[in-house]
Symmetry: C2
Subunit: 134 residues, 2 copies
Amino acid sequence: MTSAPSAAARLIAEIRFDGNGLVPCIAQQHDTGEVLMMAWMNAESVAETLSTGRVCYWSRSRQALWRKGETSGQQQRLVDLRLDCDGDTLLALVDQDGVACHTGRRNCFFRAIRDGAVTTIADPLVDPKALYGA
Amino acid sequence: MTSAPSAAARLIAEIRFDGNGLVPCIAQQHDTGEVLMMAWMNAESVAETLSTGRVCYWSRSRQALWRKGETSGQQQRLVDLRLDCDGDTLLALVDQDGVACHTGRRNCFFRAIRDGAVTTIADPLVDPKALYGA
């Protein structure tokens, strides 16, 4: 007799990972609605995120699990993980410690067109050197 | 003498499109913060979105420009288009007419784990047949 698949396994079975075994995951601050960042997950990082309650991505540049905040301390606690209609995008509602962006800004989406120019519309809240060392 | 590049051209020059010439774009309702959907854009759809003020994606399944709402009437008016820190994700703040999801739900992220099962957590607000015909 085999045991029933876990809820995590059932969710993972519904995800349509891309050809690299990855799915984009949007991180949104659960209470304010602020969209913090977008990163990628593989099946292992989805499973770890659900089991630990701490968001874990897959770093495409490092080709390794990326436990958000493992270096910077700026962790994301998972509040809810949602899958979209066609199964190819995740939305993680999170509680973000400090700042989500490696530049020290609260969120990563700080470039937009203003007065005909691509402009930085948010300032860092933290010096990145304080997050990652000089 | 050549004219200066447009703001749209300058933003597009900052985007790091993937190997297929695409970039993921998150659509967020500008006033409530609700994350509505995620879809893909190519350079042409970014340019059209900025020039018309109406969100235009690239349909990977149809391999064609996808003017959101062209069939369903559920258009997205662009409020602001933001690029993330490493240039590989867009966030579109939009004003969504009606519903964003082809299932008739307000947003696409309606599956989540509840009581150990993958559960539908939102109901359609509109019958999809009313949007797309029977």
